[in-house]
Amino acid sequence: MALLQTQGLVAHYGDFQALFGVDIALNEAETVAIIGANGAGKTTLMRSIAGVLRNAAQAVTYDGTPIGAHPADEIMAQGVAMVPEGRKLFPSLSVEENLLIGTYGRKVEGHWNLNTVYDLFPILGERRHNPGTALSGGQQQMVAIGRALMSNPRVLLCDEISLGLAPVVIKDIYKAIPQIKAAGASMIVVEQDIAQAMAVADRVYCMMEGRVTLSGTPDTLSRDDIHNAYFGASH
């Protein structure tokens, strides 16, 4: 049985329907990439899993329990952490405080703590007392990843972690992913950058207009398959 899965997940923003019955699964120790163009529903899917958007209870199952109707804070407490799109650092908090907020109200045990996060991203240790928002975009992204890791999640949801960053910076950030996997987290990575996604993923889902249009392992999917699933067959 999958560690985390969605079944017939739907989502609405007012009258606008953003997801039409999405089924995806994430197995233990696996990294799954979700690719798709802008507006395909990737971020909505992440927000639904993380509990920012509420669903029917059975729409999301984690570790055998339905969590679709749980609020975000409870889902986080059960071990599903998110690196939100746009990084969303807290401007009133320093780098270190941003990291510490990831452990709010709980004793967490596991590989990740301030020291190991600073080992992963040494620049954050140097700038630990700066306001989080005073950092460059890439460094802010590192803080956002570190903040999610601090809770030692079993599932890490990464939403568009390369968005708006220079290629060299993206490379730096993606270098951390094998270490995160090695420390035991299963991951869902949302990406618009197909090459980057293929490089880290065990399996790939492609989304278009609120539906999953393709899934498979990176080596079995052809360039054309992905192109069609990404942009629609008519292009």
Partner: protein
């Protein structure tokens, strides 16, 4: 010399207003909520202390310690079950609900305690004064001011040195992202209002020890508190203390010129600051 005396009395009076204002400032800083029942909650706390003093024969200073957890619970419940439901983008619900609460609370107190004015029992200590050179300063006003400074130092420690303070600031920045970090914004808000009402209880102690109170004086306390918060700059606690001092000094100076001008002078000082510095003396950068 009389002017130095007036000035000092005014500064000390500012401590009382800062105590009125700190809770308002805290709640506004965290959830952008203005509680129009704030003044009536101060008066309610004063009656609670009075009841504890009369029924249990406690000293007011002991009674206030007993009242604090009660008021914390009331604030927590008020926020969790009533005010959290008004925190949307629309400004009408929080205003109208807290205004309704203000009127309901005032009249509940009238029903329970009548319109007669009350006072907490004073003793030799509370009526004593100390001589500083040629000027005599009351022990009560000094205690009030010291308490205001302590409350503000304490709140700053809480905000910048504790895990709860981090959660306060994070939730204030972005409640949705905070919930992704395992924080329950509804509980953070409830805790903040609980703490605000603990400060309200301290303010109520000095309100009741220094002067008479009755169920109708809440709105005026709300107005002084509000003026202090605006003068200081929204969300700045030290600014709030300075705002309280400005109102206090304006009132004592006004009263020294003509006793009927006391309250008016405070309001005029507020309007002048609003005219020259609409965002207050220490505005927060991201508001």
């Amino acid at each position: 010399m009389i002017w130095v005396d007036t000035l000092l009395q005014g500064i000390l009076l500012g401590g009382l207003y800062a105590l009125f204002a700190s809770g308002l400032s805290l709640v506004f800083g965290i959830m952008r909520l203005v509680n129009l029942a704030h003044g009536d909650l101060i008066v309610m706390a004063a009656y609670l202390i009075l009841v504890l003093v009369t029924l249990l024969g406690l000293s007011p200073f002991v009674a206030v310690l007993t009242a604090m957890p009660v008021m914390f619970g009331i604030g927590w419940g008020l926020q969790k079950f009533l005010l959290n439901r008004t925190l949307e983008d629309d400004i009408l619900p929080p205003l109208l609900v807290t205004f309704g609460l203000s009127i309901a609370l005032q009249n509940a107190l009238l029903e329970g305690f009548s319109a007669d004015s009350q006072r907490l029992p004073t003793n030799a200590l509370t009526t004593a004064s100390v001589d500083v050179g040629p000027i005599a300063l009351g022990v009560m006003p000094l205690l009030t001011f010291a308490s205001a400074v302590l409350v503000i130092v304490g709140l700053n420690q809480l905000f910048y040195r504790t895990e709860l303070g981090r959660a306060f600031r994070a939730t204030s920045d972005d409640a949705t992202t905070a919930s992704l970090m395992g924080i329950k914004p509804a509980n953070i808000f409830a805790t903040a209002t609980g703490i605000a009402l603990v400060i309200v209880t301290i303010a109520a102690l000095y309100l009741g020890l220094r002067a008479n109170f009755d169920p109708n004086i809440g709105p005026a306390r709300l107005i002084y508190a509000f003026e202090a918060v605006i003068i200081g700059g929204l969300g700045s606690l030290w600014g709030t203390l300075l705002g309280g001092i400005i109102i206090g000094v304006a009132q004592t100076v006004g009263a020294a010129i003509n006793p009927e001008w006391q309250i008016l002078a405070g309001h005029v000082a507020f309007l002048i600051v609003l005219l020259v510095r609409p965002r207050g003396l220490f505005p927060r950068a991201n508001d």
